[in-house]
């Protein structure tokens, strides 16, 4: 993955608008957060929900980016996104990492289902 260039990602997001796509969304503070005396473990994860968004926007938040997808009847949103990749399978991967390279948040969009 590479550091996000806002305009490039915006272009990529636009290409998936107005069509059925599969999304992967996740966020986590790690399965060991509690074990290491931090707050309790939190996380959420959706893989291969089929959605259709009418508009997408990536917003610069100085240290990272926020991405919102507007659907006919709702929203998908991720914040803290720092890196991206559009891989050879046409999967648009957006992720936010901490200073040690650990994934903290991901938003991924694909025409075809992600491997399950």
């Amino acid at each position: 993955m590479k550091a996000i260039e806002r305009a490039d990602v915006q272009k990529a997001l636009d290409q998936y608008a107005e069509q059925d796509v599969y999304v992967h969304v996740e966020t986590t503070n790690g399965a060991y957060a509690k074990h290491f005396n931090r707050n309790h473990n939190v996380g959420a994860y959706i893989r291969n929900a089929q959605v259709r968004y009418t508009r997408a926007k990536i917003v610069d938040a100085e240290d990272a980016f926020r991405v919102g997808l507007k659907m006919e009847k709702g929203w998908i949103y991720a914040e803290g996104v720092t890196d991206w990749e559009w891989n050879e399978n046409g999967e648009l991967l957006l992720a936010g990492h901490d200073s040690e390279g650990r994934l903290m948040v991901a938003l991924q969009i694909s025409k075809n289902p992600f491997r399950y």
């Binding site: 996740e26 986590t28 060991y32 074990h35 290491f36 994860y45 399978n89 991967l93 040690e100 650990r102």
Partner: protein
């Protein structure tokens, strides 16, 4: 002496951290060891440091790392094909039967797994519970011994002292190699641990713990 040892954990790297020293001791004695690995750690948070993996490439990368680690440990590997972080939501019954299929075939004299309820990660607890259940379903006379590994902070107070305490200092070099085979997860971990707030003032304690592998002998009611 044991004839065949089966190790059952949910993630690539559980074997390296949990019982690679013990496995190496068994291998030194010529005892076959088979690792049944539940998932490919698809949902791991570590992507390498600096990161080189992403959510979609991670499974193949970790599979390769798992094979490398098993080569270093000289153990057989079977991948069970569950998905990381979802094992507790699967049918306990189905996983137990799945595992039992392997046990019926391999006929181990010893099974090593996580101590259900005392293994921190939900996958560890679920896989350990399914492994214990698989053994329980075997005919009493054919059941292998079960050594269960507890890793919660408070397990000594709850369970007392473990019956099996293996000093693996002599096998530590191999253990370290096996851990480091899981590059995406642990590259640079040991130097980093010294400075990490997660291990503040605990580094020596952690290293000591790595050189000792502890297990509780499971007792079946019937």
């Amino acid at each position: 002496m044991h004839k065949h040892v089966v190790v059952i954990y949910p993630h690539p790297d559980d074997e390296a951290f949990g019982s690679s020293g013990t496995m190496t001791q068994f291998r030194k004695e010529g005892i076959p060891v088979t690792y049944l690995c539940g998932s490919l750690g698809e949902m791991g948070r570590n992507m390498g440091n600096p990161f080189f993996a992403n959510r979609e490439t991670l499974p193949d990368i970790r599979k390769k790392e798992l094979l490398d680690a098993c080569k270093i440990l000289d153990v057989n590997i079977k991948m069970l094909g569950y998905r990381d972080k979802t094992i507790e939501f699967e049918s306990r019954d189905e996983i137990a039967e799945h595992i039992k299929g392997y046990l019926d075939e391999i006929k181990p004299t010893l099974v090593i797994t996580h101590y259900p309820g005392e293994a921190v990660h939900p996958d560890h607890d679920a896989m350990g519970a399914a492994a214990v259940e698989a053994v329980r379903r075997m005919e009493k006379e054919k059941r292998p011994e079960v050594w269960a590994q507890a890793i919660t902070n408070g397990h000594y107070e709850k369970l007392g002292q473990p019956q099996i305490v293996n000093n693996v200092e002599e096998e530590f070099e191999v253990k370290l190699q096996a851990i480091q085979a899981h590059r995406s997860q642990f590259e640079g971990m040991f130097p980093k641990m010294k400075g990490s707030s997660d291990f503040e003032g605990q580094y020596e304690e952690v290293m000591k713990r790595f050189k000792q592998e502890e297990f509780y002998k499971w007792t079946f009611e019937n």
